[in-house]
Amino acid sequence: MTINWDLVWSSLGPILMGAVTGTIPLALASFGLGLLLALLIALMRLSRNPVFAAIARIYISVIRGTPLLVQLFVIFYGLPSIGVTISPWPSAIIAFSLNVGGYAAEVIRAAILSVPKGQWEAGHTIGMSRRQSLVRLILPQAARVSVPPLSNTFISLVKDTSLASLILVTELFRQAQQVAAFSQEFMLLYLEAAVIYWVVCLVLAGGQSVLEKRLDRYVAH
């Protein structure tokens, strides 16, 4: 098999464009919204209010217990049949955010629980409310613990955004598919797409190390 380098170069433009205008903004937006949702769900799950805790528990169970592709299809292809039509981009962001929300909620909950109880007590004794202690003492310490598992979630999300190609979002993989269909060079184009995903994830893993080092400045080594 000889490699058609001309095709590699000429397809690089549209595929990278798909990454920059599709994959990356989709992943960033969904991760940001998903984290906010996850924090809310984690706090509900930790709440003493049994109704909140139950809602959070059911939410996490549903999200983790159903395929992401099915969630995506329910929102984009299913909802219109009950009169709710959402265009591809918002559908993708909603589905991915909800998904991240379910997974990251457990990460955040575990990270909050990993902060020693004495930190809450120290906050109490200097006069802080629970909310103040949470924001100023507990979450900053939980953040450090949750960087590695949340990086996992983010890297998975970046790759999962390829599913958005199935609901007509123009992103990295959809661009590769189109060039492949046109040129009939499936192996080449799909491998090219795989390499680009990999490079993006390498960059993210590098970012994770930097962030971990920054947050580790206050612990013994």
Binding site: P116, E121, A122, H124, T125, I126, G127, M128, Y218, A220
Partner: protein, 265 residues
């Protein structure tokens, strides 16, 4: 830096009452940890709480600060605030109770993600809303007093246990509480570091700070305390002047406890 006059050594009865605790009860599940405990603390006085582990002495301390909610009893900061736990208490009451005292923990519980200076000013600035510059100036003064002026930019993990505990004490002082609570402040320290911390606490006592100290350091209690309270099984077994309770205890249980601490072998 303290509001009250010093020298509590001989003049015990004359100082006005600061705290009166009556009928304090607390159970964890079926286990009764406190079974009606009364404690009085006068301004400028040092009360040492001693007793075997599980005797309830730490729980008493935690009840005074609202870290535990007693099942029953009254915590009365005389003339200011009396919280009666026989009825449900409000968040406001608890906050008012907590604001009158500050706790020094056995395991320091410093904030690991904040520098020494940030640890100290967190309460004054974030909770008491005092001007930051003023809080920093006061924090530096206090840190200098305990010999940690050079450490203000360090993180807790960079300090020895004794240094961390001195930061813990400064963090409590910076809140300007009426009452300092010490929960076994030297129990987690290596033996050679205990002296530094006890010296700081003794100096604070000499300056007239009012404090309740849970401790196993009998020599320290004898030297510094105005009253020693021996607890066992959730009740006060014996209380009085340190020379009496520690040297010539009237109760058999006190005698056994003191003997065991003085002669462990």
């Amino acid at each position: 830096m303290s509001p009250t006059e010093s020298s509590h050594a001989e003049s015990v009865p004359r100082a006005p009452a600061l705290l009166a605790v009556r009928g304090l009860r607390k159970a964890f599940g079926h286990h009764e940890v406190l079974r009606s405990v009364d404690i009085d603390v006068r301004r400028g006085e040092v009360v040492a709480l001693i007793g075997p582990s599980g005797s309830g002495k730490t729980t008493v301390l935690r009840c005074l600060n609202g870290l535990e909610i007693p099942d029953d009893g009254v915590v009365d900061f005389v003339g200011q605030l009396a919280v009666d736990f026989s009825a449900p208490v409000t968040k406001k009451q608890l906050a008012a109770l907590r604001d009158r005292s500050a706790m020094v923990f056995q395991h320091y519980n410093l904030f690991p993600h904040k520098t020494v200076l940030e640890n100290v000013i967190e309460g004054p600035v974030q909770v008491q809303k005092r001007p930051k510059a003023e809080a920093i100036a006061e924090a530096r003064e206090l840190l200098a007093r305990v010999g940690l002026a050079a450490k203000e930019k360090s993180y807790p993990f960079e300090l020895s246990g004794g240094q961390q505990q001195r930061v813990g004490i400064v963090r409590a002082l910076a809140l300007r509480p009426q009452l300092l609570l010490f929960d076994e402040p030297t129990s987690a320290l290596d033996p050679e570091l205990v002296g530094d911390v006890l010296t700081v606490i003794k100096e604070l006592a000499d300056e007239g700070w009012t404090m309740v100290v849970v401790t196993h350091e009998l020599a320290f209690a004898r030297q510094v305390a105005d009253e020693v309270i021996f607890m066992d099984g959730g009740v006060v077994v014996e209380r009085g002047h340190p020379d009496t309770v520690l040297r010539d205890p009237q109760e058999e249980r006190t005698r056994q406890f003191v003997d065991r601490l003085l002669n462990p072998f």
